[in-house]
């Protein structure tokens, strides 16, 4: 390991050039020393004896000739028990602990270990002296909240090791040496409860990567039914500002049926994270009966925090996700917003004076985005267990125009596209996912035929609506008009959902199946109306009854009552009322 010392030769913005003798590693971490502050920086380009380094803090006050201490390590995170429930910045500094120590402001150069060194964990060993182990093998476990947190042989070790000694079952801090082992050359290695892993490298210590098939239930109807996401899959949510990206992410983080949710607030408003920060500890997770925060990790590098750390924050988040996947858990990573991450790359690229690509984004934008999303996946672990990491990223396209490079590069690599539309959000049709433009390659929780049928009616309804804007209601045939009303009905009672309501906000797949079957029969039904006015008022009544129904718990007696009410209403007007059963 090199422990080089360098001297600063140039500074512009958050980029500095450093003259250094000896070896430099790409992505190596170094600290620029100014006064009593040490500013973390990462090597992003090497040219001869000069290292180009991006500084993760404000460079104010740095001077030519100031010392840079290299660490010989790449930018890494600490992986071990105690990550769940934490709030980290983009470099895995715990924000609550920083606040305790330094108050309101983020002090430059302040560093606190990501894992608490004092907390004791009850360790149960699972290896005995004499056994051979390799990277990723379990040496024991601790209880972290509701999960069994497996302690692994550090993933970066390449050889096989023979266990020499193991501690007894007891409480230990993360720093304790739990296992001593020897490699083939009789060199001794010590395994602790945690190890470091470089964030820019994916964790691939698993047996096999599988095709994502099982749906990841979000309990948002339009997603689960129409644009589903599978466990281990990827999806993106592009949308202009104010279209409800963040609310949609928050709802998903609350209701998604996964084990662990990682929220990466990347370059967005601090205020939005605060809601999660303050509210999650108060909310009880209905599945575990424990606070939602216990299964949540927040990576928070908001818009006014240093740009370079914003670039790393998504890597930090995805690495933590991969780590928990190694335990056989289902992890969901929500990145809000990947555009800010792309912009951070653009700023960096500009400082490096690279030849710009489209809209000044670097030429490697597309491959970086692809690499990031490819770290998702459903994997069969060496133990035979399955684990998954699902990635959902929001995109904030400039001017709300999806033709821009970040949206386009993302669309190429994700499995589902939930495009938010300004028109829908203006009309308060939330979630504002556009039902005709969005798509998904994954399998719906519902029968495909029914879904296709519903989409047909939506698209036909939209055509009729366009036509009606030109020729008016009078010039539209009654049949077309009814199709339009049906599509509006579907939109109002199923696609739209009140995220802030406890019952309507989260619709279980069972309920989705139940309701959607009834909706399908209504969509396919022949109705008998005297005139358009009658049709409209019928659908208005039906709609309001259905919406009321959406607010009733399925187990409630009123649920059946309301259903009968709806059935009776339909029987009056339908030519084939029996078909509803």
């Amino acid at each position: 390991m090199s422990k080089n010392i360098g001297k600063i030769t140039g500074i512009a913005g958050n980029m500095m050039t450093v003259a250094v003798e000896g070896n430099i590693i790409q992505n190596e971490i170094g600290y620029a020393v100014t006064g009593d502050e040490k500013l973390k920086a990462e090597v992003v380009k090497i040219q001869g004896d000069t290292a180009f380094m991006q500084v993760f803090e404000s460079t104010k006050g740095l001077k030519i000739g100031d010392t840079v201490e290299f660490t010989g390590e790449m930018l890494s995170v600490e992986l071990g028990p105690g990550i769940l429930g934490m709030v980290y910045d983009g470099l895995q500094n715990p924000l609550n602990e920083l606040a305790e120590e330094h108050g309101f402001f983020l002090k430059r150069g302040a560093i606190i270990p990501a894992l608490n060194r004092e907390t004791k964990w009850e360790f149960t060993p699972s290896v005995k002296p004499g056994e051979t182990v390799k990277a990723g093998d379990k040496i024991g476990s601790v209880k972290e909240g509701i999960f069994d947190h497996k302690i692994f042989v550090p993933l970066h070790l390449l050889e096989e090791y023979t266990v020499k000694s193991v501690v007894e079952k007891n409480e230990y801090t993360v720093d304790t040496v739990l296992v001593k082992a020897e490699d083939a050359q009789k060199t001794e290695h010590e395994f602790k409860m945690y190890f470091n892993w470089p964030v820019k490298l994916p964790i691939i210590q698993y047996r096999d990567k599988k095709v994502p098939e099982e749906p990841m239930i979000t309990q948002t109807r339009i997603i689960d039914t129409f644009f589903p996401v599978s466990k281990g899959g990827t999806y993106c949510i592009p949308g202009p500002f104010g279209a409800g990206k963040t609310v949609l992410q928050q709802v998903t983080s609350r209701f998604a049926r996964v084990d662990i949710v990682i929220i990466a607030a990347c370059g967005e408003r601090a205020g939005e994270v605060v809601e999660t920060l303050r509210e999650f500890p108060e909310i009880t997770d209905p599945r575990t009966g424990r606070s939602l925060m216990e299964r949540t990790i927040i990576i928070c590098n908001t818009s006014s925090m240093p740009v370079a750390a914003r670039e790393s924050s998504v890597y930090t988040a995805v690495t933590l996700g991969e780590y928990y996947r190694q335990m056989g858990l289902d992890v969901l990573l929500l990145a809000d917003s990947t555009s800010r991450w792309a912009q951070a790359m653009r700023e960096l690229s500009g400082r490096l004076e690279e030849i710009p690509g489209e809209e000044a984004f670097p030429a490697y934008l597309e491959s970086r985005i692809a690499q990031f999303y490819e770290r998702s996946g459903l994997v069969e672990l060496n133990s035979g267990e399955m684990g998954s990491l699902t990635i959902g990223g929001t995109v904030s396209p400039a001017g709300g125009n999806f033709e821009e490079p970040v949206t386009q590069s993302t669309l190429k690599v994700v499995g589902a596209f939930h495009g938010l539309s300004r028109d829908r959000s203006n009309a308060r049709r939330y979630p504002a996912i556009h039902p005709l433009e969005s798509w998904s390659k994954y399998v719906s929780v519902l029968d495909d035929e029914m879904v296709q049928n519903a989409r047909k009616i939506l698209s036909r309804g939209s055509e009729v609506h366009q036509m009606m804007l030109v020729v008016g209601e009078d010039g539209t045939s009654q049949n077309d008009f009814i199709t339009y009303l049906k599509s509006e009905f579907l939109d109002n009672v199923y696609l739209q959902q009140n995220s802030f309501d406890e019952i309507d906000g989260a619709t279980s797949p069972e309920r989705q199946k139940y309701i959607f079957k009834i909706i399908t029969s209504i969509l396919n039904m022949d109705f008998n109306f005297g005139n358009k006015q009658e049709a409209r008022s019928f659908f208005n009544t039906l709609r309001s009854k259905f919406i009321d129904w959406n607010y009733i718990e399925m187990s409630d007696d009123k649920f059946k009552q309301q259903e009968n009410d709806i059935n009776n209403l339909i029987k009056e007007k339908s030519n084939d009322a029996e078909s509803i059963q």
Binding site: I11, E275, S303, F361
Partner: protein
């Protein structure tokens, strides 16, 4: 120890380079030219070549002018004596008052730890119904006023400055016309708000670089007052000028432009200013209102577009009124359930009816026949525009809510409004038929 150099290597735009040693990044320097003195800031270091951005502009700089490095980054004075005073973009008084140089504080300091932020919960009353009733302003909120040239956005800001329920105002002008600057001064003087206001004024005739410092100066002072327990409202006008100055410097520095010539870090630059809005637990708060003029009334222009992604909502000022559509206070839900029982209902109900009025008006303009309901809506629309939307309306929230009920009662039967019956029972005006 102060270092003096007198050999300028290059002058390009407002950026000069000089050979110097032991200079810190973002350090300030003072240049003495035949025209007088100007401040300059280090914006790039490369070996012993130092690039400086000259606040007063480079016009008239001679290659043998003297450059004295001051050893510190940009700082600003901070004390209660600042109240009622007017400073320029370098932090120097531009009124005839005495120079203030005690208690210097650093500008553009570190950002607030998100873990220390609290959920905003206090409304700021402005006595402007379109804000108080429909899009309440909340302490620690950051909101832009999207507008176009010629709209009375500065009048709106001046009114908010005089009426807003805060301890003090910091008003930052960037690229203001001289008469606009005078307007602010006179209005606040007339309104008696001068003694709780600090001005940082950069007019269009001042050097461009000075305008760049205005938001940082305002926010640094505001932050300090807030930490001392004051609720501060910062008003900035016009942030599009700020962004244009950034663009100019970036181009001079030969940075690769990203979108319509603006630098790639426009978002981060704007965000680091807007995110200074904060509510300090146990101390004061900073609330930020900024006008952003939209070139060509185009909200997808990079400046309003990036701003919209940063701020917590926006007000659209169009035709001299705050538009009900598009205007949004993302934080209003945090406060408008604690004011009066009918607040939310009036807010939603009146806007829905206004939307219907707009449709009816469209129908009328296309020559369709008006039915009875349409006529009711048209009457409602007119009353809503004159009684609520007009910027001259100046009444407290409760009066505005009462007026809302009156307008509804003048036009509709209770059941036509779609409002909840228990609210109607409680608030529907009895003496009107």
């Amino acid at each position: 120890m102060q270092k003096v150099y007198s050999k300028i290597l290059s002058v390009s735009g407002n950026v000069i380079t000089v050979k110097a040693k032991d200079i810190a990044y973002e350090e300030l320097a003072e240049i003495t030219t035949s025209r007088g003195k100007s401040l300059a800031q280090v914006i790039k270091l490369e070996k012993d070549i130092v690039s400086l951005q000259v606040f007063a502009g480079s016009a008239g700089i001679s290659t043998d002018d003297e450059i004295r490095f001051l050893g510190d980054p940009m700082r600003v004075t901070f004390s209660d004596n600042m109240l009622g005073r007017i400073f320029n973009g370098s932090g120097v008084p531009r009124d005839r008052g005495p120079e203030l140089s005690d208690n210097l504080i650093e500008i553009a300091g570190p950002s607030v730890n998100p873990a220390k932020r609290i959920i905003p919960q206090n409304m700021i009353r402005t006595n402007i119904p379109m804000i108080d009733v429909f899009n309440s302003l909340v302490r620690s909120q950051k909101l832009p006023i999207f507008s176009i040239s010629g709209e009375p956005y500065n009048e709106l800001l001046a009114r908010i400055a005089m009426q807003a329920e805060v301890d003090m105002i910091i008003l930052g002008g960037i690229g203001l016309k001289y008469d606009e600057y005078m307007y602010f001064r006179n209005e606040l003087e007339k309104g008696g708000a001068l003694n709780r206001t600090v001005f940082f004024m950069h007019t269009a005739s001042d050097p461009i670089v000075e305008g760049l410092m205005v938001p940082d100066l305002c926010l640094a002072v505001a932050e300090k007052f807030a930490l001392n327990g004051k609720d501060v409202l910062v008003l900035l006008t016009d942030m599009t000028n700020f962004a244009d100055s950034l663009k100019e410097i970036a181009i001079t520095m030969e940075q690769v432009p990203s979108n319509r010539g603006y630098p790639g870090d426009l978002y981060s630059q704007l965000a680091s200013r807007y995110e200074k809005a904060v509510d300090f637990e146990g101390a004061g708060s900073v609330t930020l209102l900024a006008t952003t003029t939209m070139p060509g009334d185009d909200v997808t222009h990079p400046v309003p577009d990036n701003t919209g992604y940063i701020t917590e909502g926006q007000f659209y000022l169009r035709g001299g009124r705050i538009e009900p559509f598009g205007s949004l206070s993302r934080l209003k839900q945090q406060v408008n359930d604690k004011t009066r029982d009918d607040h939310r209902a009036i807010m939603d109900g009146m806007i829905q009816l206004y939307a219907e009025y707009k449709e009816a008006e469209e129908k009328r303009s296309m020559g369709f026949r008006m039915n009875e309901w349409d006529n009711k809506l048209l009457k409602y629309g007119d009353l809503f525009v004159s009684g609520m939307m007009d910027l001259s309306v100046n009444i407290p929230l409760e009066k505005a809510l009462d007026r809302g009920w009156e307008i509804l009662a003048q036009c509709f039967k209770p059941e036509e409004t779609g409002l909840k019956s228990d609210l109607i029972k409680q608030f529907w005006p009895k003496d009107l038929e």
